[in-house]
């Protein structure tokens, strides 16, 4: 029934959805193109090169062909000349209307001349004539091919009912180019998931071209109904003639778990963004950055316009900090605190909640003051920069160790000489000073972690020159960090979910001492950078302090006699240990800072060969034709270490780096070198982690990776960089 022709590298066939059609019905014709491996044919908009496949019908009277329904195409490489087309196979679908005045029992010869351009490395035009026969009858009988055709029909982009799309010019034209934002909201699920990737394939137009590169931008809107997935795509429009388009049309492509769906959209182009919409600086792009501003704008143009959004980010970031790895140990203290609070009068619980919040906020105010001071002194400020101070590290290590000993029950924290709770009492009653201290501790430990959302807000804050804005943002981070506890302390009823106080608390308290101890070990390890092998004396000092703590707990707090002698011994130990170990041996306030090791810095024999980062190293590697991966990290940045372990220093990424011949650079931010602070600020970040992937072309702008990495994200970026 169907006539088949094989020409060149594409095999064409004409299929019909019915063997017999009743006059008045519409049936489907399918022009099936099967391409040899590596060869492809083009979509209705071939893109920047190529040619759409054409079908010219020769139909008997009474049969009329409609427009071709094109299945969703793929974006074809190379990135420099983006085209849209099909690999392997495609079926172009055409509705055929059988006129009602035709008689049943006729045989209709349907013929189509199909011409196409097939390309691999080279392009070959192909053309052939295909034919099929259709009978008319009393009723329509579907053909054996109808099922296959239904499958292809399901790949044709649907109408965009579930998609609310809008478009606007982001900036005035720069010559014949102009950045366009296409934004929208999708209601529903794909493959049971929210779509994770969006793109836009434009319809062809002779007067302008919406270029292939799509840059994704995260979008925030004040419209409370706009819940994710909201997407925003930045495209460059090149105009050839006429006015800038007032309306655009094409297909929004979305993807989840490898499942792709297209939606037809047609939307007017507004001259400006809809009210209440803020776009974040580009954070992720499928093939690069826009031409006009090669580097993400330092801050959204009007600092104040973005402020409410930034305050929201600050608050959310603070909230998330509660569960970041560096703050996690403090949670032990807080949980115990809650259970104790729950036994107390609501009034006191509330007060303690507020005092805790005050502790957090005062710490954040202090941090804000430091940032303002540092900026005023003309230096760069960075989040977590106190970890660049050895004095801070020594103090914090000692403090954390004492907290651990306290949890182990070596000594109790009592304030104002109140009578101690009986030995059977499970935990010390944290009074107001205890709650305040918890707040400070939480803040101190939170600083080396930058929660994902916090990065944007802090990046914004560190670039501000207005002290009020810096203070506001820091306060909002504090609000976020303190919020859950304040809320719980004002609604003690919610605490009933926690188990009743009992003997388990004693064990839980001791168990929670271990993460604290681990934190102390981590901090101790940081001190090594400053003191080298002399860090031994810090260890000895810690042992002396621990001994003093035990004597204090055992003989001063719980002892029956000889308290005076015990206090003297404790003081002697502390003063002696400080003077000898810290001052005399360690020179703890003025350590000799060791320069970072030059040359390669491989973590393990088969690990990635890291070279030290410098501004010139990237260009040098690009000149040598290498893509570049840059990891800005710091010893005190836990997120960075986790990223490296999980997302970078893994076999698949190592192999990919080798395969694309990439150079890997590491920028060590442990001691806050100014040149790295400058680099971080360029990308709107206030701290590490920052991971960049540069294509090999000299001067090419990097792909900025998200804060939390997976091997997939890194591999994807490397692939894109290698292709460019």
């Amino acid at each position: 029934m169907a006539l088949t022709t094989h020409a060149a590298h594409t095999h064409v066939q004409l299929l019909l959805s019915a063997d017999t059609a009743r006059p008045g019905d519409t049936i489907w014709a399918g022009v099936d193109l099967k391409m040899d491996p590596d060869w492809h044919t083009y979509w209705k908009n071939p893109g920047e090169a190529g040619m759409a496949t054409k079908i010219q019908w020769q139909l008997p009277p009474g049969v009329t062909a409609g427009d071709i329904q094109w299945p969703l195409p793929e974006k074809l490489p190379p990135a420099e000349v983006t085209t849209y087309g099909y690999s392997n196979e495609v079926m172009l679908l055409v509705p055929l209307k059988i006129a009602a005045d035709l008689k049943p029992g006729m045989v209709l010869d349907l013929t189509a001349k199909v011409s196409w351009l097939e390309c691999r490395e080279e392009c070959i035009p192909g053309s052939t004539t295909v034919a099929a026969q259709l009978h008319t009858g009393w009723k329509t009988e579907i053909s054996a091919d109808a099922t296959t055709m239904d499958l292809w029909k399901s790949k044709v982009p649907q109408s965009g009912d579930r998609l609310k799309a809008q478009a606007w010019w982001e900036q005035p034209a720069n010559g014949d180019r102009r950045p366009l934002i296409i934004s929208g909201k999708f209601i529903g699920l794909l493959a049971g998931k929210l779509p994770t990737d969006f793109d836009f394939f434009p319809n062809a137009n002779d007067n302008y071209e919406i270029q292939g590169t799509t840059e994704k931008s995260s979008i925030a809107t004040t419209d409370s109904a706009s819940r994710p997935p909201v997407f925003a795509l930045r495209k460059t429009v090149q105009k050839f003639s006429g006015d800038w388009p007032k309306e655009i049309s094409g297909v929004i492509v979305m993807q989840a778990l490898g499942y792709r769906v297209g939606y037809e959209v047609k939307t007017p182009v507004a001259d400006q963004a809809p009210p209440g919409v803020t776009l974040s600086p580009p954070s992720e792009s499928s093939a690069g950055v826009s031409p006009a501003p090669p580097i993400p704008p330092k801050t959204p143009a009007a600092g104040t316009a973005a402020l409410p959004l930034m305050l929201l980010y600050a608050f959310l970031g603070g909230l998330i900090l509660n569960i970041m790895p560096c703050v996690l140990p403090v949670i032990a203290l807080k949980i115990l605190g809650f259970i104790n609070h729950a036994q107390q009068k609501p009034g006191r619980v509330r007060t303690l909640g507020l005092v805790y919040a005050a502790g957090v906020l005062v710490s954040f105010l202090a941090l804000a003051a430091v940032v303002i001071g540092v900026k005023a002194a003309g230096r760069h400020a960075g989040w977590g920069m106190q970890f660049g101070s050895p004095v801070f590290i020594v103090c914090l290590t000692t403090l954390i160790m004492l907290v651990a000993l306290n949890l182990f029950g070596v000594f109790e924290v009592t304030l104002g000489g109140r009578t101690l709770s009986g030995a059977g009492q499970l935990a010390s009653q944290p009074g107001a000073p205890g709650a305040f201290f918890n707040g400070i501790l939480a803040t101190a430990l939170a600083t080396p972690c930058t929660a994902p959302i916090l990065a944007t807000a802090l990046g914004f804050a560190f670039l501000q020159n207005n002290p009020v804005i810096i203070v506001l943002i820091f306060l909002f981070v504090g609000f976020g960090l303190a919020a859950p506890y304040v809320v719980l302390s004002w609604n003690p009823a919610w605490l009933k979910f926690l188990p009743k106080p009992g003997a388990w608390m004693e064990k839980f308290k001791i168990v929670m001492g271990f993460p604290m101890l681990a934190t102390a070990v981590w901090l101790f390890n940081l001190a090594y950078d400053y003191y080298g092998k002399s860090v031994l004396w810090l260890g000895i000092f810690l042992v002396i302090v621990a001994l003093a703590a035990w004597i204090f707990g055992e003989f001063v707090q719980r002892g029956r006699s000889g308290k005076g002698i015990a206090i003297v011994i404790v003081l002697m130990l502390l003063i002696g240990g400080y003077a000898f170990a810290l001052e005399n041996q360690l020179h703890w306030r003025a350590p000799i800072v060791s320069a970072s090791t030059p040359g390669s810095i491989a973590d393990s024999p088969d690990g990635i060969d890291w070279q030290p980062w410098s501004p010139g190293a990237v260009t040098k590697a690009q000149t040598g034709g290498h893509p570049v991966l840059v990891d800005f990290t710091a010893d005190w940045c836990v997120t960075c270490q986790v990223n490296k372990k999980i997302g970078i220093e893994v076999p698949s990424v190592r192999e990919k780096l080798k395969a694309i011949n990439a150079v890997t650079l590491v920028g060590d931010y442990t001691h806050f070198p100014d040149n790295i602070t400058t680099e971080l600020n360029r990308y709107g970040r206030a701290g590490v982690p920052l991971v960049l992937v540069y294509p090999k072309a000299v001067g090419a702008q990097p792909i900025v990776l998200p804060q939390i990495l997976t091997p997939g994200i890194v591999m994807d970026a490397l692939d894109r960089a290698a292709k460019q």
């Binding site: 420099e80 490395e121 392009c123 014949d176 105009k239 050839f240 003639s241 093939a287 031409p291 090419a700």
Partner: protein, 200 residues
Amino acid sequence: MIMKTAFALVATLTLASAALAVEVGKPAPDFTATDINGKTIHLSDYKGKIVVLESYNSDCPFCHNQYKTGAMQALQRDFAAKGVVWLLVNSVNPNNASHRTPAQARAEMAAEKMDVTAWIDDSSGTVGHLYDMKTTPDMYVINKDGILVYQGAIDNRPDPFHDPTKAQNYVSAALDALLAGKPVAVTETKPYGCSVKYAD
């Protein structure tokens, strides 16, 4: 986009050229290149003359259609007689089957009876990237003052089988206007054809 910016940058660095963006109404960036006879060519050598750049790949059906019908050669011959400089730019990379060695190129030039000032061997893609040439054929017309006055398609029929003499040829229209001292009517069109086979 990043590619274009990046390659434009590479080109700029290599060629020490001042302009970055190729845009109608702006000076056409200068370049240094070698033709298939080993001669060094600077665009600036032709200051004071009208210059046509043609991005070329004879294996591309869209180019081939212009040559097999003799239309492109006729255009080259007519305007050469009027003092127009015509530079063929072949940016096909050496690993592609359509690449031509200088010897093959000289043979092809003779066989096709081309009448061009020079065939630039741009297998590195330097000139192609500098001008952001997307397709073959992609055409550029530069006036006597070195200003780009036309960029885009050769004609209005993006089809590898059409009769070029029946199409509206944008390049001959632009050249006629320049020679007559009139403004160029159509200054930019969407180029059509095969993608330029640049090196990766």
